[in-house]
């Protein structure tokens, strides 16, 4: 039976990994007034504004993973 859960989870996972790679690289763009600059400005949204709903999902997954890591550390520390 087709289960979309696997596909969407892997897609989000891939997006998180790509995000990490991009964050690790130096992504300073040259100053300019071209379309690339405008697109990058649009991407720099903060707070509750997201370009796509999936960005919110990615953020939520990252938060939950961090929470899980903290929980596991706590559990290991207590034992």
């Amino acid at each position: 039976m087709f289960n979309p859960a696997e596909n969407i989870y892997q897609a989000v996972d891939k997006r998180i990994k790509q995000g990490k790679i991009i964050a690790e690289k130096d992504t300073k763009m040259p100053k300019g007034k071209g379309i690339l600059t405008r697109v990058n400005k649009q991407k720099n949204v903060s707070g509750d504004q997201y370009l796509e709903p999936i960005d919110y999902v990615v953020d939520a997954v990252i938060t939950l993973r961090k929470e899980k890591e903290a929980l596991m550390e706590n559990m290991n520390g207590n034992s």
């Binding site: 859960a5 969407i8 989000v12 919110y56 999902v57 939520a60 899980k68």
Partner: protein, 167 residues
């Protein structure tokens, strides 16, 4: 092949979905929550409830994979008319992560549903290779169109001839 001994009486009757007026079912009405944010907040709040947590643990201990459980939860939300199916599919990763968090916190082992069965994959590829080899052998000496006509005739003969199958 196993022969079914009893008729499948538990299956839905053909046309059953049309026994209510359009819009009378919750999933046919506009969803209560339309954004991913709202839906995620709803599920996270619900999954923090002790009774829900216990149910999730019991289901995971019955070897139900996390993917199946997450998909079932979101489908139930669609059936209740809480959110649309596309928003439901979008929130699946969050549901899966939350389920895995609950399971890890309780220290139980679970199947994610994403484990690869390499042996089965190899078997599948062998079957596919066998089918294409057999097809090529069958095609030897026969025209492609002739084979297609033969296959179509066979498929037509196998088609159901019940009330719903009439043209």
């Amino acid at each position: 092949m196993a022969i079914r001994e009893e008729p499948p009486l538990v299956a839905p009757i053909p046309g059953m979905s049309m026994t209510h007026e359009v819009g009378a079912r919750p999933w046919q009405t506009p969803p209560q929550q339309t954004t991913v944010q709202e839906v995620i907040a709803h599920y996270i709040e619900r999954m923090q409830d002790d009774s829900i947590t216990e149910q999730i643990i019991n289901i995971l201990q019955a070897d139900v994979p996390v993917t199946t459980l997450a998909n079932t939860i979101q489908l139930a939300g669609v059936m209740e008319g809480r959110h649309s199916i596309d928003v439901g599919v979008l929130v699946i990763p969050v549901l899966m992560e939350m389920i895995m968090l609950i399971a890890d916190a309780e220290g139980i082992e679970y199947a994610t549903g994403m484990e690869r069965d390499k042996e089965a994959e190899v078997k599948d590829s062998r079957i596919l290779a066998g089918i294409s080899k057999a097809r090529k052998e069958l095609m030897n000496g026969k025209d492609e169109e002739e084979v297609l006509v033969q296959e179509t005739e066979e498929e037509l003969a196998e088609m159901p001839k019940g009330l719903m199958g009439r043209r």
